[in-house]
Subunit: 214 residues, 2 copies
């Protein structure tokens, strides 16, 4: 790889190595081979086996986990959730991926959270109940009108079952959405913003805030 | 079978022949053999093949569908939903089975409805997303407190995602719950009643209201 200065970040999940190299993204399945970078790699990981694999090909790697300043009484909170939330002072973080995690932060303190199924999981569940319930999700269904056909009845229920519990806890707080379905879901809330790359964004903030590790 | 007078009702679904013989219930899988009754059988059916099977073994059968007085603009509403709703003047009917159907009736008119996944489907969906999300549903989780562990985060999300959309449409209307999880869910609502056998109850009311068919 090039010897020029690059900031290389890696978010190690349960499916991929997700690299961000000076803002450019690259994804590798955990089973595939990954590049041997010359530069230091700053990473966060929820997967020990994958971390070990990164270490085998790349010597100069820095785990950002010890630098994450996030206090919570929540037992078993994933590192990705912590990083996504760690710079929110007051608000709600919604990470809408395969699951939808909703975390509530008040005066810099994490108050807890809940976990809804992701949109893809919702879509898959209905045909498992009955083949008569197999429909595409219509994200444009009118949520102010009670549905008058099964297709709308399912789309309405999926969206309402995600939106209403979030509205219930958010009241007028600021909502930050991230994750694959974050942009879509953010549109159902007035007081919301969507941040595509909150994990990488916050990894950069952690690096900048800790001069010692750069 | 006995020649004494018995009122025999049959609710033919997609899994079973569900008989009610003078209040006593008997279930037969659609694939198993069913008794040859001497008495008339009043039935409703959502399954044509199973209806044909009932006709083969029992000559004197009466389809109650034509006697159901239920008007709706909803396209494709299942007969079981119609029967459950047909005597409600103003209120919400929640049938909590493999799916949870929610129907809204105002001044004797069906305004529409929506379809949530059933509790069993919800329970099955989380482990499909990740083995880390495999937990039993805790129906006693405190819904007034933001969860502080993953087990509670899932139970809270499942219950809230069912309860909140129903509360949103019900406001102060009377809620009638039925179905396998109806009793459990009814307890989360103040203005609710639970009717275990609303289908058979309403079949009897239809028979009584139509002397000609007894």
């Amino acid at each position: 790889m090039s010897g020029e200065f690059e900031l290389i970040l890696c978010d190690i999940g349960n499916t991929t190595f997700h690299f961000n190299i000076d803002g450019k993204e690259q994804k590798y399945l955990l089973s595939s081979s990954i590049p041997d970078f010359e530069e230091k790699i700053y990473y966060v990981s929820v997967n020990d086996n994958a971390t070990a694999k990164l270490k085998l090909t790349n010597e100069d790697i820095v785990d950002l986990e010890p630098y994450i300043d996030f206090k919570t009484k929540y037992v078993g909170m994933g590192l990705d959730r912590k990083i996504a939330c760690c710079f929110i002072e007051d608000g709600i973080l919604v990470d809408a991926g395969s699951a939808i995690t909703v975390d509530i932060i008040k005066k810099g303190k994490h108050k807890g959270g809940f976990i809804l199924p992701g949109l893809k999981a919702y879509k898959e569940i209905y045909p498992q109940i009955s083949h008569k319930l197999q429909f595409d999700l219509n994200t444009k269904v009118n949520l102010d009108k009670i549905p008058l056909c099964t297709k709308d009845a399912i789309s309405y229920a999926i969206l309402k079952s995600i939106i209403e519990p979030i509205k219930k806890v958010s009241k007028k707080k600021q909502l930050t959405f991230t994750g694959g379905d974050g942009e879509l879901l953010s549109k159902f809330f007035d007081n919301s913003i969507y941040k595509k790359d909150i994990i990488f964004e916050n990894m950069r903030r952690i690096i900048n805030a800790n001069d010692c590790i750069t």
